[in-house]
């Protein structure tokens, strides 16, 4: 007897099936949307303003509830807020406006906030926060007052607050918007260095090309995988080969 070979099922990190979301009397924002994010994938999300990209992120995090459809995180179906809560440490959401994310008076406290909520001791949380800041090139920012940071600094500190929770998946809502070239480069470097799966919303084509392998476009409440547009040019450290 031959058994059909079934490969072991590796659960998707995020799996959405038939998600519907909308407000009464208006066109649905998400219309039976399906989506999967697999380990190691770096997904870019394009779409006009108001097309529901941010809503999609909030639904994945359980901040908004779809009218119908199922959400699976790491192979487990989640419905209630309490069930989402246990995934907050594994999926990090970077908000569009850094002022929404940074609420503590000082940078160190904000970055340590997540680890403290995960039950780390104060000393552990402070160590994690310092390490995360250092990884982003933000050493010495610990005692800075958050509202006095520049726009780019706020964005990077926001990223630090998310990374400090040691997530496996990142959801980045327009992280490059309004950043100068240097800060944008730091962001590209960090995303390349971290071994994370992520979904990234951006309107900037060149930035997207550098950080995403797969591009989806959001149209009429659904995600369409775009044609392969990734034209990654590898910059060789060695000068041209002579043949």
């Amino acid at each position: 007897m031959m058994h059909a070979f079934t490969p072991p099922r590796i659960p998707a990190l995020i799996r959405l099936d038939g998600i519907n979301f909308g407000y009464a009397g208006r066109r649905p924002i998400l219309d039976s949307l399906d989506f999967q994010l697999h380990p190691g994938e770096r997904v870019g999300l394009l779409g006009p303003n108001g097309s529901g990209k941010t809503t999609l992120f909030h639904i994945i995090m359980g901040l908004m509830r779809p009218q119908s459809g199922t959400i699976e995180l790491f192979g487990k179906q989640v419905v209630k807020e309490k069930e989402f809560r246990e995934f907050y440490s594994r999926i990090g959401l970077l908000f569009q406006d850094a002022d929404d994310q940074l609420f503590s008076p000082t940078v160190l406290e904000d970055v340590a906030f997540g680890p403290l909520n995960l039950g780390k001791s104060k000393q552990e949380a402070v160590d994690i926060a310092r390490k995360t800041l250092a990884e982003l090139g933000l050493d010495g920012f610990e005692d800075r007052i958050t509202h006095k940071l520049s726009g780019g600094e706020k964005r990077l500190v926001s990223l630090a607050t998310v990374l400090a929770m040691d997530p496996e998946v990142l959801l980045l809502d327009e992280p490059s918007t309004g950043l100068d070239t240097r800060t944008k480069q730091t962001l590209v470097d960090v995303l390349g260095r971290m071994n994370l799966s992520y979904i990234i919303i951006s309107h900037e084509g060149d930035f997207m090309e550098e950080v995403a392998d797969i591009i989806y476009t959001m149209e009429e409440g659904r995600l369409n995988r775009a044609e392969y547009i990734h034209s990654h040019v590898h910059a060789h450290p060695h000068a041209g080969h002579d043949h």
């Binding site: 907050y88 406006d97 002022d99 008076p105």
Partner: protein
């Protein structure tokens, strides 16, 4: 909004442990507020002047802060001597200036200056975040502490949003006048500010939830007491004991 003009210095007072400053500012205010003898009030004012000088603050900025109180004091000096009654100090036509009224006005003037200067020198020289940590250290209700810290954090954001809105109005040739259009525009502006603040609060709360917020905020600030702090503690403590002795000794010492 919150400018914190005094928080940035590097004087002996600025370096003093914030807990020492808050503790003595509170104690000093209570003792001074309860004092009536001119000996203790003068001594209190002397301490305040000394602290203000030691904090090396911009004198103009300090005077500007005091000016707020002078408005009330002028009013008191006009009203109290004329209405208090009792022994007449001076008569001017039909007006009688009462001695107890003048004394009371003088006491209030001394008290308010002493307390206000002490608060400027000791409390206004730290930023609001530090103040929050100190209140947390002294075990004030956590909700009040978070309210202070979150207000401090977001009042700037709200101010920015207000500036953005009013700039947008000005750029479209809005000029405030006494007319309905102006009132309506301001009403829209304020209404918009509330709407935005509510939306902002919702997003901030969501962001906090995503980071595992379960109703607790943590203060990480750690204080360190140094040698000068002990000297200050001794000095301020001794002076306040003197104030109390001057005020509550059975017979006036001076």
């Amino acid at each position: 909004m919150i400018r914190e003009p005094f928080a940035g210095g590097d004087s002996a007072v600025h370096r003093m442990d914030p807990r020492v400053r808050i503790f003595f500012a509170t104690l000093f205010s209570v003792v001074t507020a309860l004092s009536y003898r001119f000996s203790s009030l003068t001594a209190a004012l002397l301490l305040s002047l000394f602290l203000t000088a030691a904090a090396r603050l911009n004198i103009l900025a300090v005077l500007r802060r005091l000016a707020v109180v002078w408005g009330f004091l002028v009013f008191l000096w006009l009203i109290l001597p004329l209405t208090f009654g009792g022994e007449v100090l001076y008569r001017f036509g039909p007006l009688a200036f009462s001695r107890p009224g003048v004394i009371l006005a003088a006491q209030i003037t001394l008290k308010s200056h002493a307390i206000l200067l002490a608060l400027i020198a000791l409390v206004a020289t730290m930023n609001s975040a530090t103040l929050g940590y100190v209140l947390d250290f002294f075990h004030l209700p956590p909700k009040l502490v978070y309210l202070l810290l979150l207000t401090y954090r977001y009042i700037f954001v709200i101010e920015q949003e207000y500036m953005r809105l009013s700039r947008a109005a000005r750029l479209r040739s809005f000029q405030p006048r006494t007319r309905l259009h102006t009132y309506r525009t301001y009403a829209y502006l304020v209404g918009m500010l509330f709407v935005r603040a509510a939306a902002r609060a919702d997003r901030v709360y969501k962001a906090m939830r995503c980071r595992g917020f379960q109703g607790r905020i943590y203060c990480l600030h750690s204080f360190a007491v140094t040698r000068p702090d002990w000297i200050w503690t001794g000095l301020l403590g001794a002076w306040i004991v003197c104030l109390a002795v001057l005020e509550w000794s059975p017979a006036p010492l001076f």
